[in-house]
Symmetry: C2
Subunit: 204 residues, 2 copies
């Protein structure tokens, strides 16, 4: 019996450090794979096609929506973002875990389709710290910066839709907590009841 | 605001290795404290009063039951076992975690009083392995051994009452999984909703 993999959704307000935490965490996790998103936004410096994102034109992206090829998609700050569905399905069925790093709109869409996913909300130690991080990134105009910060404060109110909150006080500590959550979920009785029922029958 | 500590209940069939896992795990955990049980059974070689158990006469034990000083108690294999209530309450209120290592009868009693406890079921890799371990301990008569093994097989069916199953394939791995479960539970949204609601209000 192959246990299905876990769908781990790492989400949270813009500027919480989702990308940094993923980057630190993934090389240490053998059975957890990063789901690369599609986007229509321009690549930032150093971003690589197929590693950070699949960069698409608006026309290409709309084609994927029409073809039902996306698990979730959203228009955020005038750009489209989405998660290709096939990669996720294939991995989970093979017993491998998939990590989605997505914004809150996307996470809520995924929750409707995968209620058994593990939904993790990454937050900075304080909202003040969040503002510093968004400003520090330096890739935003003042207008888009204010928009992002306002949205982030509002997004905090979505915590109750999630299973776990991880405070990103230090990247290594946050990564350790997420790894612990994955280990714990793999031990969850609810997730493994069928497996253990079989084990008990075989043992008697 | 002091967050209440977690009550972690490590239970499972006799011979699963609860004691060995606790011994390996506790020195590495600063904020998790072992709750020492009372028992009327005779000390095994090397067991120390107040460290492994508080050893009581039957009369003393019945006095504790009458005085409502026990969180749970049970008669197992002609001996009494129980958990002093005060230590657990004091630690949890101070924000410290408490680890109870108890048999299944006791765990089910605790669950009624502490439904928010973290209930972990420790199992050996197979029932065959369980039999080897009980025999290997060498402290039992054949009759009590058969009684224990029969009970262990039956006890496996209580898995569904627990939150987590941890396979004790290797002591270090089992300890790591339990530590991960504690970390994950500390990140649980349900456990921390009040805290985060306050955080959000303060941040806006």
């Amino acid at each position: 019996m192959v246990q299905k993999g876990l769908l781990i959704v790492l989400s949270g307000p813009s500027g919480a450090g989702k990308g940094t935490v993923c980057k630190a965490m993934l090389p240490t996790m053998k059975t957890t794979h990063y789901s690369v998103s599609c986007t229509t936004r321009a690549p930032r410096e150093g971003e690589v096609e197929g590693v950070n994102y699949f960069f698409k034109t608006v026309e290409q992206f709309k084609g994927m929506i029409a073809g039902d090829e996306l698990l979730e998609w959203a228009e955020v700050y005038t750009n489209y973002y989405g998660t290709p569905r096939k990669y996720v399905d294939d991995m989970l069925n093979a017993g491998e875990n998939v990590l989605l790093e997505i914004d809150i709109q996307g996470a809520l869409q995924v929750k409707k389709k995968f209620p058994n996913g593990v939904f993790i909300f990454l937050i900075p130690p304080s909202l003040q710290e969040l503002k510093h991080r968004i400003v520090g990134r330096g890739s935003e105009t003042e207008e888009s910066l204010n928009m992002r910060f306002g949205a982030a404060a509002e997004e905090m109110s979505y915590i109750s839709e999630y299973d776990y909150v991880v405070v990103n006080d230090e990247v290594e500590k946050a990564s350790d907590r997420i790894r612990a959550i994955i280990t714990a979920e793999q031990c969850s009785v609810q997730r493994n009841l069928e497996y253990y029922t079989t084990l008990i029958k075989e043992g008697q």
